[in-house]
């Protein structure tokens, strides 16, 4: 017998196919080339594929569209993935979909092929019920593909649901570089938007803006993190690095269900939860005119390290954030007296409204902690359309079909009493013995009701009588508040009441009456 190997035609065919496949694969994985990738690395930035690796549990990513390229024949060789890397993977063992912009390929600009990719990911994520994540960094619409009426007709407006949001699944976005056009649209439409310092989120580039307004426009002023954290509120969170942004998305999604037809996941209760409850009253100053940071109260109440604050630098008089109580996800809405004494302004109204919509859409019960002297009043507030903002907030609360628990820590006055869950505007209204509830602050009410100014004879007696009447016992006596709770019992009270109010008839799923409300106001 000859020792010479006989060539197996089938094996050779497989080898050839594999070689061709590997070559094509390597070309796709090389993205925009070594030089561009190295430049990013030197800047401390992750590339699109590194970002995806961090986003998903190890070994769970399966790509969709690895061999896609530009639909323009002349660009095919220089457009691996057509500038957007997409696929599915698992986050904390749950399925999720991602579209990550690859800025090294034609500035991750939007074009025909990657538009198809985006539509596919949205469709699959929505139909199969999993979160959709956008890792944004894009120069906007690809030029010259979009130019002229043919370009517009071919590339834009062919999908009427492209920017439709019905909140069937959570959307989360990270803005990780220059983001113009659709990359910004998706960030603004998302349920959670994290921004890395140095990134820019804007309608169009500073170059185009400079041409339009005929003056130099600084990119950071146009759409930097400070603008979106403090003025527009589009950034739910600002971080220093790509890694932190991606970890924030993983954390955000850990509180949410995969889709709107299931209850949020339940987590183990960390040891040490409830520590400090015996001294929680100490966080409240003895004087009613002194302020404090309500976030310390929140952190003491909820499961240890579970408070995930959203929009911390926007509308700071209202605190919003996800947390867990007894392992269950809750949405916390609180007044923060540290800012403006806790008086609710229009930014806080918008922030709380959009947070209520988020929680209601994804079956998250609300816990409200109340300490507000009322709404900010005056000409500035009216110019900012306060009545409309206050009523949007009120209507959102009324439309919520998830359980609402309200605890009055200290002040609850006027219309803000209703907005913060007073009376039947929550399912259970409780109050600490430190609560004071009335139509207006007694300091002003003595003047309005009796005509006395401080120092007038009779002022002190009238004031003392009003203070007594504002105490919690009268509202508890007529059962307009269901419970008076000692501060140290509040965590146990909330955990128990969340059990009582569980939506047993629907498996924890609400009616989502605000699913088509805007993602910003």
């Amino acid at each position: 017998m000859s020792t010479k190997e006989v060539e197996d035609p089938s094996q050779s065919r497989r080898a050839k196919m594999r070689e061709d496949y590997e070559q094509r694969r390597e070309k796709a994985l090389a993205m925009g080339g070594t030089a561009k990738l190295q430049k990013r690395k030197a800047q401390g930035l992750l590339n699109a594929r590194e970002r995806i690796d961090r986003l998903f549990d190890p070994g769970t990513f399966i790509e969709s569209g690895l061999f896609s390229t530009s639909a323009v024949p002349a660009d095919q060789d220089k457009s691996p993935g057509d500038g957007k890397v997409a696929g599915f993977g698992k986050i904390h063992s749950r399925e999720a979909a991602v579209v990550a912009n690859d800025f090294t390929v034609m500035g991750a600009s939007s074009a025909a092929t990657n538009g198809r990719k985006m539509s596919h990911m949205k469709r699959v994520a929505t139909q199969r019920g999993m979160p959709l994540i956008f890792l944004g960094e894009s120069s906007g619409a690809r030029m010259p593909d979009h130019m002229g009426s043919r370009g517009m007709g071919q590339l834009l407006g062919n999908d009427g649901s492209q920017y439709q949001r019905m909140r069937e699944i959570p959307w989360a976005s990270a803005t990780l570089g220059l983001s113009y056009g659709s990359s910004s649209w998706y960030a603004a439409m998302s349920d959670f938007s994290v921004m890395r310092k140095g990134a820019v989120l804007a309608v169009s580039s500073s170059l185009l803006a400079s041409l339009a307004v005929k003056e130099e426009v600084d990119p950071q002023e146009l759409g930097g993190w400070q603008l979106h954290a403090e003025i527009t509120g589009f950034a739910d969170l600002v971080v220093d690095s790509d890694e932190q942004a991606i970890e924030a998305i993983r954390q955000f999604l850990s509180y949410l269900p995969s889709h709107h037809q299931e209850a949020p996941p339940v987590a183990p209760v960390p040891s040490g939860s409830g520590e400090g409850m015996d001294r929680i009253l100490d966080l409240l100053p003895a004087s009613r005119t002194q302020v404090y940071d309500v976030r310390k109260v929140i952190r003491t109440l909820v499961d240890r390290d579970s408070f995930f604050e959203l929009k911390a630098r926007f509308g700071k008089v209202g605190v919003t954030g996800l947390a867990r109580l007894g392992g269950k996800t809750v949405g916390i809405i609180a007044n923060n007296p540290l800012y403006k004494g806790g008086a609710l302004d229009t930014d806080a109204c918008e922030k709380i409204t959009s947070f209520i919509v988020l929680c209601d859409s994804f079956n998250i019960p609300l816990v409200m902690l109340v300490d507000t002297p009322g709404f900010v009043i005056g000409t500035e507030a009216e110019k900012k359309r306060a009545p409309g903002k206050i009523m949007n907030f009120m209507n959102a609360l009324a439309l919520t079909t998830m359980p609402k628990l309200s605890v009055v820590l200290r002040k609850s006055y006027g219309q803000a009493y209703l907005n913060m869950g007073g009376g039947r505007n929550s399912d259970e209204m409780a109050a600490w013995p430190t609560a004071e509830i009335s139509f207006m602050d007694p300091q002003f009410a003595v003047k309005v009701v009796h005509g006395f100014n401080p120092g007038d004879p009779g002022f002190d007696d009238a004031r003392a009588a009003m203070d007594r009447a504002n105490e919690v016992w009268d509202i508890a006596a007529i059962y307009a508040a269901q419970s008076v709770v000692l501060p140290e019992h509040t965590r146990d009270y909330l955990i128990r009441m969340l059990e009582v109010h569980e939506l047993r008839l629907t498996g924890g799923v609400g009616q989502h009456l605000m699913r088509a409300w805007p993602t910003s106001f």
């Binding site: 005119t289 302020v291 403006k340 004494g341 009322g374 602050d441």
Partner: protein, 73 residues
């Protein structure tokens, strides 16, 4: 070093000034306390810095958005 103006977030009056010009502030330090809606509202230096100039005096009425202090970051 970039200078930053700390502005009043409320309409009210200056009650107490806690910081002095030239003083180094840690993030979150109170610079002054305003009185508004019968509440003592602290003006915080969120990012820390050095006080360059204090632009108001105790008792002075201030409006929302009015610069109160210049801080060097």
């Amino acid at each position: 070093m970039a200078n930053q103006q700390l502005k009043s977030e409320v309409t009210g009056s200056v009650w107490q000034i806690a910081a002095q010009e030239g003083q180094r502030l840690e993030p979150g330090d109170t610079v002054m306390i305003l009185e508004s809606m019968k509440m003592e509202i602290p003006v915080l230096c969120e990012d820390g810095g050095t006080v360059v100039e204090i632009l108001v005096e105790p008792g002075e009425a201030v409006s929302e958005g009015q610069p109160l202090v210049v801080v060097s970051l």
